[in-house]
Symmetry: C2
């Protein structure tokens, strides 16, 4: 007799909402307080485990005149929304390796912050920098993850080495990141299996962060879960750079743990999401499908969509010519 | 060493374009000739194997005053678009079991028709009727398939029996149809594996027709292909009832057989798709996500979206109350 594992659940599986962080790549992190508070309250009501409230980027590199508060996540901005956050929801920020984050200056000791988790994002070649950041933040008292980006264009031996380095570090989790929305389920399976193998016995967990260029963000997230990933990213309505991410309303419909509640998410989508300015756009538009299929960074696709002179057929031809 | 099967292909895998047939459920099959001819020419240029040009429904049940020509697919309407169709593209229609199609009157002998394939759609309880239709059409000289619909609400023993009956028939293929867009990849895998087992040794093939309520139509189509399905449905831009179907532009990006060409599809989407009236709507909107998650027929979701007084939060609450 076949089994029906999809109606069961793993209590240890954690969901992270990345709405304000990844969505902030669309609008330079200029969400108003009402929106961010809406996400916060929705996460609490929905039983979400972590909310990634923005980037911990350096104001030297991302000047405050061009970027909103959720690009720097200073303590007073955080507390304006969450107070002392006396809830079960943990708060996360993303800190990029490679000089985008002045972490020794800008990340406070855990005891002075409402943040719980620092997610260190890096490319494979930045692993040593990322590990330094992870160890530093771990020493400060935070949970940490290592999010290795753009693995669809990295050498497999480099990815393997990177994950093995993370396995030796203090990171609590290592996250598979399909930055370009280029990967099919078989590739996700291969990668998650490798990550699972590399961290075996360390007590660490594997996460997944998928992009929706080919309408596969949710499917790839499911695939990762089936393979054992227990730290799963989603965003409200799938908001995120370019094609966006795995939608929270899809993910919570799949997860069977009764601690999760989907209605608060529908309520947020009905009441708060429409307050966003109309020029904030994301989704699996043709340009993003094309960049995903070609395993490319979405920046050219974003530029093409922003230009009035361009259309996706021209964009396709351009990509073909440039290959 | 891991393998990378996703960069190889199976020459025997066939693609069917269901744009005009499934899309016709949105507008009572009232596409203009320019649109239908555009799909036809695009399928030829893209290397698609079959084009399903509409339904072979009875004008008694679907009166001509309410439904366009692609609901009945009379020979003169077909020939106005395709002439004698001296191309490699085969033409298909869908004929519903259960009295919607007066097949003994309306389906001509193959020698008098430009059609190549009759796809008989049925629910599990209509299998005997469907088999009669299949045998009749087979005798007339057509290729035939049996598309068993709504399997996500059918008893497994009934589905199993149905597929075994089809395996004994003259049908060339049996198609897994996720009518409600309710199924996850693990369920698709289970079903396709069962269908594959049931037809083993008969020379028949298995097909997949997925709906996109949960943004899983493309992913589930890939899953079916990985499990051995060799007859695969897609539509231009995913057009189809409710949430729509697997998008041709996604599918052809995944398939590696060099006989397929994606550019003609982008060209169609750029030039012809925008000629559709603005009120023709499809996609994974919240109402369709909800009906997919609840494994329900999309008709209530379609009605809710059409009503000005309704919104998806109310629709969600209604669905919960009604369960």
């Amino acid at each position: 007799m076949d089994k029906a594992p999809w109606i069961t659940y793993r209590p240890e599986l954690k969901v992270l909402d990345a709405t304000v962080r990844d969505g902030g790549l669309i609008n330079n992190s200029r969400f108003d307080d009402n929106f961010v508070r809406g996400v916060y309250e929705t996460c609490i009501a929905a039983g979400v485990d972590y909310m990634e409230i923005g980037y911990k980027n350096s104001p030297d590199v991302f000047p405050k005149k061009n970027y909103g508060p959720w690009r720097h996540c200073e303590e007073e901005d955080l507390r304006r929304i969450v107070g002392t956050n006396d809830t079960n929801l943990k708060l996360a920020v993303m800190a990029d390796a490679g000089g985008k984050c002045n972490y020794k200056r800008d990340i406070l000791p855990k005891k002075d912050s409402v943040l719980d988790l620092i997610r260190v994002a890096c490319y494979v070649h930045q692993i040593p920098d990322a590990i330094d950041m992870i160890e530093y933040c771990h020493e400060l008292g935070y949970e940490t993850t290592c999010n290795i980006m753009a693995v669809s264009i990295a050498q497999e031996v480099e990815v393997q080495q990177a994950v093995e380095e993370v396995a030796k570090s203090s990171a609590d989790a290592v996250v598979v990141v399909d930055s370009f929305g280029a990967m099919y389920s078989e590739q996700i399976r291969t990668l998650v299996n490798r990550y699972m193998m590399a961290i075996k016995g360390t007590g660490k967990i594997v996460g997944i962060h998928a992009h929706n260029n080919q309408q596969l963000a949710f499917a790839n997230t499911i695939e990762a879960i089936v393979c054992g990933a227990n730290f799963v990213d989603a965003t409200m309505a799938g908001i995120g750079r370019g094609a966006g991410n795995c939608s929270m309303e899809l993910l919570l419909g799949f997860l069977r743990n009764p601690k999760f509640h989907i209605r608060p998410v529908w309520e947020f989508l009905h009441k708060v999401m429409p307050t966003l300015p109309e020029d904030i756009e994301w989704g699996p538009y043709p340009e993003y499908i094309i960049s995903g299929q070609m395993n490319q960074h979405p920046k050219d696709a974003i530029q093409s969509r922003a230009s009035k002179d361009s259309n996706f057929l021209e964009f396709y031809d351009e990509c073909i010519r440039d290959m």
